[in-house]
Symmetry: D2
Subunit: 224 residues, 4 copies
């Protein structure tokens, strides 16, 4: 009997970002998993996913897009918009799809796997950071709005977490990474399961008092 037993948990974009670790952690805790890996930047994809998902007790909104790492001047309109198409618009579609059943049951959890990069300025992050910032403000507003319905919406604002999308082994081998990790007082990357453990906490009954909250998860890089 795990902490998620009896819970139907939807995990999106399973092959990217925190997907694999979320699957492993929530499966180990007895969740009934609804796994999906379609491209949610396609119009209608997020809505279709929810329509086919049946009951969803927990939505783990795991959305990722390759950080373009362009300077502002290199970030043309297409690159800029693509971040919002991948990270922001599907998030709203997922939330819009899943909220009615949660509100009706007066029970439900949404955890957005977001980024700490939205909390602190960084060079070459204008497009990605801006879209991640939109996610966090969105979570604050939706979380506060639906709190009276006993539905909890929160976000993890993470960085320095091992995952195939943003911190693959190839990136960990670069000098840029060696320089950048100095900014994390803890001096190491988080294992993927550690971020999944925070998601598990935010998906469980014990965190019902968290609503519309952004929880930094960054090894001391940001601390509030």
């Amino acid at each position: 009997m795990g902490r998620m037993s009896g819970k139907r948990v939807l995990i999106t974009q399973t092959s990217a970002f925190m997907g694999a670790d979320l699957v492993e952690t929530f499966r180990a805790e007895g969740a009934e998993l609804i796994l999906d890996d379609r491209d949610l930047s396609v119009p209608g994809a997020a809505t279709a996913l929810i329509e086919g998902a049946g009951r969803v007790d927990v939505l783990l909104a795991n959305l990722a897009a390759e950080q373009p790492r362009t300077t502002v001047l290199e970030t043309d309109d297409d690159v800029f918009r693509s971040m919002f198409e991948a990270l922001v618009f599907p998030l709203h579609a997922l939330v819009l799809g899943v909220l009615p059943q949660m509100i009706e049951r007066r029970a439900g959890k949404i955890v957005v796997m977001g980024s700490a990069s939205a909390l602190k300025g960084m060079p070459k992050y204008s497009a990605y950071g801006s879209a991640r910032g939109a996610q966090l403000s969105y979570v604050q507003d939706v979380g506060v709005e639906v709190a009276p319905h006993n539905v909890q919406v929160n976000a993890i604002a993470q960085t320095f977490v091992e995952n195939p999308t943003y911190f693959p082994p190839s990136y960990q081998a670069t000098e840029e990474f060696a320089e950048r990790i100095k900014g994390a007082p803890i001096g190491r990357l988080a294992h993927g399961w550690e971020s999944a453990a925070l998601a598990l906490f935010l998906a469980g009954k014990e965190s019902d008092f968290f609503v519309g909250q952004v929880v930094p998860f960054a090894g001391g890089w940001v601390t509030r």
Copy 2:
């Protein structure tokens, strides 16, 4: 001889939000004003504006869109995207247009007239608040990136400021407003010129050390 004398200052969307107050304050300080009121959500509009603007020493990115005040469930995809079309994508286009000349001169100021609503969860703000949040994270990233070029990009995150778009007299007369203003310890709206005075500070040489910063302006509603 005003504090802006010799400076060419571009103010966008002059008929909305802080437009009128910015015009008045910067004119009084001797700026050479470049005023524009076109709809910047039209594709290409922001780019065209900059191309025709000549030298721009200060860009006051005054972008506004009516807050839809819809619940999350009432916020369909069109409403949601329209906030980004009005507030976020034109901001990047304006910045992208104006930065090259500023970087080349190693001098320039961009002040984004943003919203404190991005800093704190509020019901019925999911679309608007999310787009305003994107603006703030964008400013942080761009501001930090271009700081070494001696160009300063900052944002005002305001609320409870008199302006025709968000706090018109008709809204000030509602019970909703009477309840809401209780949340501002100062107990009054800011006059428009007070927000413009902060923009003036951020547009002047005395604030060169501010880069990528979000300055709340909210009468104590948020204080950091």
Copy 3:
């Protein structure tokens, strides 16, 4: 076999603030409890407590003092200092006492039961809020400093949590409370066990990546 089995957990000021709930939650998870209820504002008391405590795997720094609820002008020097004598100086003494053994073992957790009142301005909070603010900055600095020793120091910044010190039934019956709770989007107090569940998360191995962090716990009253 609970999540704290084999762990020696020190809880201070057990009769106040979150003491009772921490005892119950950590006992249920199999911790070996070291319980203390002495007045830690007495010089030397905190140091003596640690000297007699033996091995401490987890320190739950539960420090409380009655909020004087005085206006600034009513807050004389004695009242003001008394908050620091109760909340800040003993915290440093406890940390100073317990860190050497934790650093030597390269293992240890300190969770400070702090207050969200330090995060947002409130009338009649100058003394109490200031001392609570000192706690949070202290945690940030110590947490970042000792992170490389594999010791984790974090804080909960809570409010609107049922407890005998700050939200006793008598206070819950007041009009002041009825007005104040409107500021919490969730619309209810947290049960004491919910705050203890967060402390449990921060005391466990799954949160090793949290260092020097301030976690608001406030039902949406603050969200980052």
Copy 4:
């Protein structure tokens, strides 16, 4: 006719921290200066200062103490308390002394020259950072409380600003400094007059809408 003409401005601890730059900037703007350099950690000193100061329109609470730069374990009780004796208790005494006349006149400004170190964890800052954190929470609470009296209390949370106490030329010559300044995206120290210019803004009528606010001033090291 300067921006401070007709204003009586009290500057404390003039030989330390931002004292010299505040004197120069406010004198140039026509203020009538009340300058004091006594040791305000002496009991009663702050109270005596205010009693002898006559009318004070603007209080620039410039309080400094040498950062001990001790590790947590090296920070004994005396070192720890000395930071609060120098930075926190005199601040309250100054505010307590000066507020009654400001409240009576329904006019007055208090600007606290604080530190950004309270906003972000740093090694070897536990005592200093904690006291600076107390200052900032204090300003939030007092600022919000006295806002209805038309008195404005705000703080500058600065770092990387040239001054004889924290960034003297001798420190600027160290390798530690060379490493540390990399954390400031702007890549330079602020001149002292730049911080004084922010204090001037916060001391003037144009910033009356700022109450209980903490304004980071850190060249991008923190941005909100």
